[in-house]
Assembly symmetry: D2
């Protein structure tokens, strides 16, 4: 595993990148992403849109589960919203609970800069044996 190469790979996640969502750390089975909330991230009620938190968590999931080098896709995900947010920095930390050969599972905690829990995300992946990533 090469952290710089993983970061370089995921910078090509255009949807995350163009929305200011950045992968800040990655190691085997772990990743951390963050976003600085701007007006473009809000919903019609003035809170952070759920899709921002989902995308933030999904990028962390993708980096953590792909860190082993075999292509892994999200098959299903759950997100529970705990507290609303309207600004500041939002952080997602993904930990791969189950590093299964085919069906990994990963939990992601989404917090503000003070560590207050905003949302919980968990997802199952499908690992495509034989499809190696360039890192």
């Amino acid at each position: 595993m090469n952290t710089d190469k993983i970061k370089a790979f995921f910078i090509h996640d255009e949807f995350a990148h163009q929305n200011g969502i950045r992968l800040t750390d990655v190691s085997e089975g772990y990743a951390r992403t963050e976003v600085i909330i701007e007006p473009r991230h809000l919903n019609a009620g003035g809170g952070v849109q759920g899709g921002v938190l989902f995308t933030l968590a999904d990028l962390a999931f993708a980096a953590a589960t792909n860190s082993h080098g075999t292509l892994t896709v999200t098959t299903s995900a759950n997100i529970t919203f705990v507290h609303g947010a309207t600004g500041g920095v939002i952080i997602a930390e993904a930990r791969e609970t189950v590093n299964h050969r085919r069906l990994p599972f990963c939990e992601v905690r989404i917090t503000d800069a003070d560590g207050n829990l905003l949302a919980l995300f968990s997802a199952s992946g499908y690992r495509k044996e034989g499809v190696q990533l360039p890192f």
Copy 2:
């Protein structure tokens, strides 16, 4: 319920709007959204980022569940990805299965222009009695 007023309200969902996600139809307990896929919607693997489908579905959920005029927020959501997509138009249709006074539930089907199922989304909401929306 006034369809034009609901559409006008949700155009202020900045995250959806700035990412090209549009609310095309809404009626009591129903909504339809769509997005035309562009390079900015893709992930590092070249497929449509899961967050795009989530945001598309979440906007449809929000419009359908808020169509009755009482503020409803998403509490938890599940999304299952069935087939990958790389381009074209993607459509989400939300139907409020349970129009409960406090705890509504809504199912959303995400398809391509030919009606092929791409993902299934379902979410629970929390209705804030006494908080009326301007439509």
Copy 3:
């Protein structure tokens, strides 16, 4: 597919069987289960225990997704409780939304005898290619 053989196979689901949960119908990608509520099915609050509804739905899921003859196991499931129940007959109907070679998805509706929705269940499975069932 042989309906009688599938029913005969699933009668060996001891947990369902000993708790009065029966598979009443099955066809390709579809199954129906039911249970007649007795005092042994209740929780400490006097309502039907969530595990009864889960087991009822999971048996329907298992029959529907295994109806093609290849062993399919549940990987993850979601259940949302809509209305409480305290007695009568409860029915689950499973429809396999996605008959995928490896990763099927199935939705189950749980109702009372009058068709009132009590709970919604959906689950992802994993199909073990090459493991054929005896029907």
Copy 4:
């Protein structure tokens, strides 16, 4: 909170009780349940039926979230199966991640006696303000 009174209350969960599922520990926002697997807990494939694990987790969820004394019901739950089990003791530990006045959230880990992870369960509840439990 009175641990003995909570245990005495939940022994009236007939479905759990009659299936050998026991509440072994409870404190504020925490509970532990266990079951010794017998032939009656198996599915048609000879593994522990998913409904056993669900019921085990749901009882732990109920005890943990009701430990504060206000009636809390499960609104939706997710369970992900990690490893199959065929015998031995199975344990569920529930920790209430979010002790919200109305919408608590609780995570449950299901393991064997050696601590190997078998399944992950998480659920949202709805707390009925004003409905006090007898402990």
